[in-house]
């Protein structure tokens, strides 16, 4: 098989590049990298639970980062568990809650559009006698509180509904959903996966009343390798990984101190001028969204519009073309995006999120996710808008479905 280096040579380096795939992993700004570097070999390179100077320095990084996280989510009390990514934090939330509970409650409720790091651990518990109930969502991805209320019964152990959807940007009304659950039975644990909400909308755990909440460093331009689970006081979790404990009693293994130092810096950068950053993302988002919707025919916007949509999310289905070929075509043009197509995920099924909002398979295959960030500017979006229409047009020239659609339209016009 061909080597990656040969493929890259053939691909070439585009003269201009705009990275819009912050969903899958992000670009890390130089300030963040700079903040990480000393912790490899100048200070804090020790183990944070060992009593020597580099160890204490490492511990200081952990402590100061957790303080900052607490401040940004307004947590008073409770505990923050540092894991090595968001997937681990979500697994701890689901499986750790099941293990920590008595065995009498066996029902886990999630939504149909959760990240797979919620859906898969939940389903893994079915083998041990747990029942997973998936609430359908409406056409924009919203969970109906009345439907949630109907599904809650004396067997319900926990509810896990994400704050912002990672693919279509739906901002759930978590406060209402928590109230719905707690009104029925306040012993039910409410978890929210907030990795795509953190740094994009204001989060106040006291006001929302959530019991567990997941955050991830690389979703706010921090490095990969740090996840956080907020655990409200009194919530009983049991560890799901076992090994030498460090400063974290719920997650073994030595903390990734350089990455935590980078996350720490990323928090500063994200929350300084928070409102301006969000305003900028919204402006770029709408510029990109409207630019595509107005200039490319036969497209569908996935997810809601306006204030109920994440400020960074644009998700559009391009009809009659397939998403994997769009990502390749745009990559050759220096525009980096991802797709909900089955062809990129190596399974037959396209994105479960796009299907859950009622789209057809072929519409899901042609879906493209663009995520803008505060590091983009208008010129970047203008460049993207100059590349997307010709890219789609070129693939539509190849596609028999696009030709058939054109011919059908022509026929109608002639009649």
């Amino acid at each position: 098989m061909v080597k990656v280096s040969e493929f890259l040579k053939q691909h070439g380096k585009p003269s201009r590049e705009v990275y819009l795939d912050h969903e899958n992993s992000g670009w890390v700004p130089p300030e963040v990298v700079e903040a990480m570097l000393p912790y490899f070999n100048q200070r804090g390179y020790g183990h944070p639970s060992i009593t020597n100077l580099p160890g204490w320095e490492a511990y200081e990084v952990v402590e100061s980062t957790l303080e900052k996280v607490n401040k940004t989510i307004n947590a008073r009390g409770g505990e923050l568990v540092i894991t090595h990514n968001g997937t681990e934090a979500n697994n701890l939330a689901i499986i750790g809650t099941a293990l920590g509970s008595g065995r009498e409650r066996r029902k886990i409720i999630t939504s149909a559009i959760e990240h797979v790091s919620i859906l898969f651990p939940a389903r893994s518990l079915e083998e041990y006698g747990y029942r997973v109930v998936t609430i359908p969502v409406d056409k924009e991805g919203f969970v109906d509180p009345d439907m949630l209320s109907m599904l809650i019964d004396y067997e319900t152990l926990m509810v896990s509904i994400q704050m912002v959807n990672h693919e279509i940007g739906t901002i759930q009304n978590i406060k209402t959903l928590v109230e719905t659950v707690k009104d029925k039975d306040d012993r039910i644990i409410f978890h929210t996966d907030a990795v795509d909400a953190y740094g994009r909308i204001k989060i106040d755990v006291e006001e929302l009343g959530v019991d567990l909440m997941t955050l991830s460093s690389h979703k706010i331009h921090g490095p990969r390798g740090v996840g956080v689970l907020y655990v409200r006081e009194g919530v009983r979790l049991k560890p799901i990984m076992h090994g030498a404990l460090s400063t974290q009693k719920m997650w073994p293994g030595v903390e990734n101190i350089p990455a935590i130092a980078g996350f720490n810096k990323a928090i500063d950068l994200t929350f300084t001028n928070f409102d301006d950053n969000v305003k900028k993302m919204k402006m770029l988002r709408d510029m990109l969204m409207d630019g595509i919707l107005n200039n490319v025919p036969e497209v569908l916007l996935n997810g809601p519009r306006g204030d109920k949509r994440a400020p960074d999310n644009v998700n559009i289905s391009f009809l009659h073309v397939e998403g994997e070929s769009i990502t390749v075509e745009l990559s050759l043009r220096g525009v980096y995006v991802s797709s909900g197509s089955a062809c990129t995920s190596r399974v037959l099924e396209p994105s479960h999120v796009i299907l859950a909002i009622g789209r057809r398979y072929e519409e899901a295959h042609g879906s493209i996710l663009f995520k803008v960030s505060r590091y983009h500017n208008k010129e970047d979006i203008e460049y993207v808008l100059s590349q997307v229409p010709p890219a789609i047009e070129r693939l539509r020239i190849i596609s028999p479905l696009a030709r058939e659609s054109r011919e059908a339209v022509k026929k109608v016009v002639e009649v």
């Binding site: 061909v2 398979y361 295959h365 190849i398």
Partner: protein, 165 residues
């Protein structure tokens, strides 16, 4: 659950994706056929111009991933000038080799391309010249069956989940 190893394409595939050969609907084709389904995310259309049992021209259209586009394009290159019997004997492995290899998850792209070609050849004999040469098997070939299975699978999924295609 599945892994997501990135798909690495050969220079030939990337080249054909950028500059596909024999692209587009052939207005004066002797026969054409389609294989695959929009719901599965890949469709190939093959157009053949046939004279004296020989393919004198071929073209394609493709809805699918980069490998799908490349496989459809290369097979039209491969059949030009061949007799129908010679074209029938092209295997999906031949197509894969001609592309310089495919990631295994993408083998179905060359299978679909061969399925589409075989469908076109069968259609030519059944519907146009209305005769059945000795070398043409009565039963569907593996590649034709695979295309059919893919088309039927999605109908089943739609029926199962109550979605009307």
């Amino acid at each position: 659950m599945s892994t997501r190893t990135p798909l690495i394409y050969t220079p030939k595939i990337l080249d054909l994706f950028r500059n596909p050969k024999n692209l587009g609907k052939m207005e004066d084709a002797t026969v054409s056929s389609q294989a695959g389904s929009p719901a599965c995310g890949d469709v190939i259309t093959i157009y053949l111009k046939i004279e004296d049992s020989r393919i004198i021209d071929a073209s394609f259209e493709s809805y699918g991933c980069a490998a799908n586009i490349a496989a459809a394009s290369i097979i039209t290159e491969m059949v030009k000038g061949k007799t129908l019997k010679e074209a029938w004997d092209i295997t999906w492995e031949d197509v894969t080799n001609e592309l310089g290899g495919l990631p295994s998850i993408k083998y179905h792209c060359s299978i679909l391309a061969v399925g589409g070609l075989k469908r076109a050849i069968r259609k030519y004999f059944q519907e146009i010249v209305k005769m059945h040469p000795d070398w043409l098997p009565k039963d569907l070939s593996k590649e034709e069956r695979q295309a059919l299975e893919e088309e039927e699978l999605i109908e089943r999924i739609y029926r199962k989940y109550g979605v009307v295609p």
